[in-house]
C-alpha cells in the first residue's frame, strides 16, 4: 500500500548575517535522513522514537504537508511528490491524518457538522440530505451518540477525548484506505486513552484501514501495531514484526527504550542498564553510527562506518555492526 524509499528531509537553520558574509557552509537539521519502509494493506506500522527523532516529520512528508529533500513516498504505485495538484487532491481522499492535539486541530469557529461534512464536500462525495446522513452516521460510529445532540455544537463544548473522536470522524469521512495517526492519545487522560485505542482498532476492522501509528510510547505501539520501526536521529535503527521485536530486540537503543518504560508492578522493579547522556543535535549528527556516542558497545568501526539496515532473518531488520 505504501512504500517509503530513502526519504530525506533537511530543514535549513537560520544563520546570522555575519556567518553568511563569511560564506560558511549552511547548517541544516537532519530531521529525516534516509528512511525506508513499507506498509502492507490492512497492517499497522508503529514508528517510535524520542523527541527529535523525526517521526512527525515522516508523517507530514507522507501526507505531503511539507516538501521532501529527496526520496520517494509511493502510495498505491504513485510517488506522492510527483503528483500534480488534481492528482494530489484525489489521492488525499484515500489518505488521511489524525493529529496529536485535539484542541489545536479542530477549527473553533466551525460546528462539528461543518467539520465532518467538509471533507465530503471537498471531495464531492455527497450533498444535501445524504451528506447530513453520512455525518450523523460517522459520529455514531466514533461513539458520539446520539449524534443529533452533538452535531450542531462547537469544539470547545467537548472534552479532549470527544474532540479526538471528532478528529477521527473527520479523517474517516472521505472513506480513506490509509490513515496516519500522529500521537493520537498522548494528549488524553489515562482513562480516555483505551477508549480511543480500542475505537481505532474497531474502525480498522470495520473500514479495512491501514495505519501508520506515530508514538513515543512503546506500550501503545505494542498494543496497536503489526510492525514496529524504531527511529533514532532521523534514521531507522530497527524494523521488525511486533512480536518478534519484543521477543528479541536487537539494537542496543531498542533494548534501552524497552527497559526505560515504567511498568505498574513493583515486583518488576529491576536493576537495569541505563543509557547515559542525551540525544545529540540533529544539526551535526555523529559520524558513522549515529548512536555510537551513547552505545556501551561501540568500536572504532562504529565511528568510521555507518551500519546499514540489514535483514537478520524473519524480516527483522537491524542497523548495527554487531549484527552484521
Amino acid at each position: 500500500m505504501l512504500q517509503v524509499r530513502d526519504l530525506v528531509k533537511h530543514f535549513p537553520v537560520e544563520t546570522s548575517f555575519l556567518s553568511r558574509v563569511r560564506g560558511g557552509e549552511k547548517d541544516v537539521v537532519h530531521a529525516v535522513d534516509g528512511v525506508s519502509f513499507s506498509i502492507r494493506r490492512g497492517e499497522t506500522l508503529g514508528l517510535v522514537g524520542e523527541t527529535g527523532s523525526g517521526k512527525t516529520t515522516i508523517a507530514r512528508l507522507i501526507m505531503r504537508l511539507i516538501d521532501r529533500t529527496s526520496g520517494e513516498v509511493v502510495f498505491e504505485g504513485k510517488d506522492v511528490f510527483s503528483l500534480d495538484k488534481k492528482e494530489l487532491h484525489s489521492t488525499r481522499r484515500d489518505m488521511q491524518i489524525i493529529f496529536q492535539d485535539p484542541f489545536a486541530s479542530l477549527n473553533p469557529r466551525m460546528t462539528v457538522r461543518e467539520i465532518v461534512e467538509l471533507p465530503l464536500q471537498v471531495h464531492g462525495i455527497a450533498e444535501g440530505d445524504e451528506k447530513r446522513k453520512i455525518a450523523l452516521d460517522l459520529l455514531e460510529k466514533v461513539g458520539l451518540s446520539p449524534a443529533q445532540r452533538f452535531i450542531d455544537r462547537y469544539p470547545h463544548e467537548f472534552s479532549g477525548g470527544q474532540r479526538q473522536r471528532i478528529g477521527i470522524a473527520r479523517a474517516l469521512a472521505s472513506k480513506p484506505k490509509f490513515v496516519v495517526a500522529d500521537e493520537p492519545v498522548s494528549a488524553l487522560d489515562m482513562s480516555i486513552r483505551s477508549q480511543i485505542l480500542n475505537l481505532m482498532q474497531d474502525l480498522r476492522t470495520e473500514f479495512g484501514l491501514t495505519y501508520l501509528l506515530i508514538a513515543h510510547d512503546l506500550s501503545v505501539v505494542r498494543y496497536m501495531s503489526d510492525w514496529i520501526g524504531v527511529l533514532y536521529l532521523g534514521k531507522i535503527v530497527e524494523l521488525a514484526r511486533c512480536e518478534d521485536f519484543f521477543l528479541s530486540p536487537q539494537h542496543t537503543y531498542s533494548k534501552a527504550l524497552i527497559a526505560a518504560i515504567p511498568v505498574p508492578d513493583p515486583t518488576l522493579r529491576v536493576q537495569k542498564t541505563r543509557l547515559k547522556g542525551e540525544m545529540p543535535s540533529p544539526i551535526h549528527p555523529p559520524k558513522g553510527c549515529r548512536f555510537h556516542t551513547r552505545c556501551p558497545f561501540f568500536t572504532p568501526e562504529c565511528r568510521d562506518n555507518e551500519p546499514q539496515l540489514v535483514d537478520i532473518g524473519r524480516d527483522h531488520m537491524v542497523a548495527c555492526h554487531r549484527n552484521s
Partner: protein
C-alpha cells in the same frame, strides 16, 4: 511527618464553586515516598499547592482542614513564616521547568538564590553550594553549566536544575509534581533513577504527583488515588497495583497499555471526567462505574480501612 486532615480547597469562579480538593486525609512518613495519582482535574496538584500554601487567592481558598508538618499546622502560619518554611523544610519541583525557571538569570545563580535565602551563606559560598547541588543531580561539568541560561539546557537538564533547587536545602519533604511528564522515556528513566538515589542520600520524604501508574510502580512506597477532588483508595504500592479494590483504580490499571501485556484487549472506563462545577452527587465516580448501585448515587462513600493499611472509599467493597 506530614499529616493532612480534612483538607478542602475551593475555587470561587464566575461559573460557580469548584470543589477542587474536597476532604482529603493523607499521611506521609519520614523518608517515605507517597505516589499521588490522578487524572486532570482530580485535585492532585491543588493538594500539593495547598501544602505549600501557594493557592492563588482569589479565586482559590483553603476553606477547611489541617496540614501538620511534624505536628505544626502550616495552614495557621503567616505568609512571613511560610516563606521560611518553603524551600527549606518543604520544597516543590514543578512539571514544566521553562515556566518556573527565570529565563534571564543563570541557572547556578537561581540555585544560589534559594541557598542564600535559607542559609546564612555569602554569595560566593552559595554559588559553590549550587555547583555541589548540580553535581548531586548529575549534571556533567556542573561548574560550566552553572553559568548557562535555562534556554541553553535540554528539557532533562532543566528538570535536574529544578530538582537541584528543591533539594539544595535538604528539605524534610520534597513534592515533585509530574517531574517527568514533559520528558522522553529514556530521560524520564534517568530522572526517576536520580530521584530514587537522592531520596536515599538525603532521607527526605517524597510526595510524587503523577498520572502514570508505571512511575508509581517504579518509585512509590504508598499510593493514594484521587478522582474529582476525593481520595478513593490508599495503600502500599503492592496492594494498590496488584490487588486494588476501588473500581476506578482497577479500571485504570486494566485500561492502560502495558509493555509486558501484548495485544490483550484493553478494558475501558466509559464516559469522561466530570465537570467540577457540577460534580455528580454521591460517589463522584458513580456515572462511570459498572458496579454502581442506588446508595452510590445518594450517598458519598467514606474512606474506610478494609484491611490493615488499605483504605477504600466505595460502597461496593463493604
Amino acid at each position: 511527618m506530614l499529616r493532612i486532615r480534612g483538607l478542602k480547597t475551593y475555587f470561587f469562579t464566575s461559573s460557580g464553586v469548584v470543589n477542587a480538593v474536597d476532604g482529603v486525609d493523607l499521611d506521609i512518613g519520614k523518608g517515605e515516598t507517597v505516589g499521588l495519582v490522578g487524572e486532570s482535574g482530580s485535585g492532585k496538584t491543588v493538594t500539593a499547592l495547598s501544602i505549600m500554601r501557594l493557592i492563588p487567592q482569589p479565586p482559590g481558598r483553603i476553606v477547611h482542614g489541617e496540614v501538620l508538618l511534624e505536628g505544626d499546622d502550616l495552614l495557621k502560619k503567616t505568609e512571613h513564616e511560610m516563606r521560611k518554611i518553603r524551600g527549606d523544610r518543604v520544597a516543590m519541583s514543578f512539571q514544566d521547568p521553562m515556566t518556573y525557571l527565570n529565563p534571564v538569570i543563570r541557572v547556578g545563580d537561581q540555585i544560589a538564590e534559594a541557598i542564600m535565602l535559607h542559609q546564612q551563606a555569602s554569595r560566593s559560598e552559595a554559588v559553590k553550594k549550587a555547583v555541589d547541588a548540580m553535581e548531586m543531580v548529575q549534571i556533567p561539568s556542573a561548574a560550566d553549566r552553572a553559568r548557562e541560561y535555562p534556554h541553553q539546557l535540554s528539557g532533562g537538564m532543566r528538570q535536574r536544575i529544578l530538582i537541584a533547587i528543591a533539594i539544595c536545602c535538604n528539605p524534610d519533604l520534597l513534592i515533585a509534581d509530574e517531574p517527568t511528564t514533559a520528558l522522553d522515556v529514556i530521560t524520564q528513566d534517568q530522572i526517576l533513577e536520580l530521584m530514587r538515589d537522592l531520596k536515599n542520600r538525603i532521607g527526605s520524604s517524597l510526595l510524587l504527583i503523577t498520572h502514570d501508574l508505571g512511575i508509581v510502580g517504579e518509585l512509590a512506597d504508598h499510593v493514594a488515588v484521587m478522582y474529582a477532588g476525593n481520595l478513593l483508595e490508599y495503600g502500599d504500592v503492592n496492594t494498590i497495583l496488584r490487588r486494588p479494590r476501588h473500581p476506578y483504580t482497577s479500571g485504570l490499571l486494566e485500561s492502560t497499555p502495558r509493555i509486558d501485556w501484548g495485544k490483550r484487549r484493553l478494558k475501558m472506563i466509559p464516559g469522561t471526567i466530570p465537570d467540577m462545577v457540577h460534580p455528580p452527587a454521591g460517589c463522584r465516580f458513580h456515572p462511570r462505574c459498572a458496579q454502581a448501585k442506588a446508595s452510590c448515587v445518594s450517598e458519598q462513600p467514606k474512606l474506610i480501612e478494609i484491611e490493615a493499611g488499605h483504605m477504600v472509599a466505595c460502597h461496593t467493597t463493604k
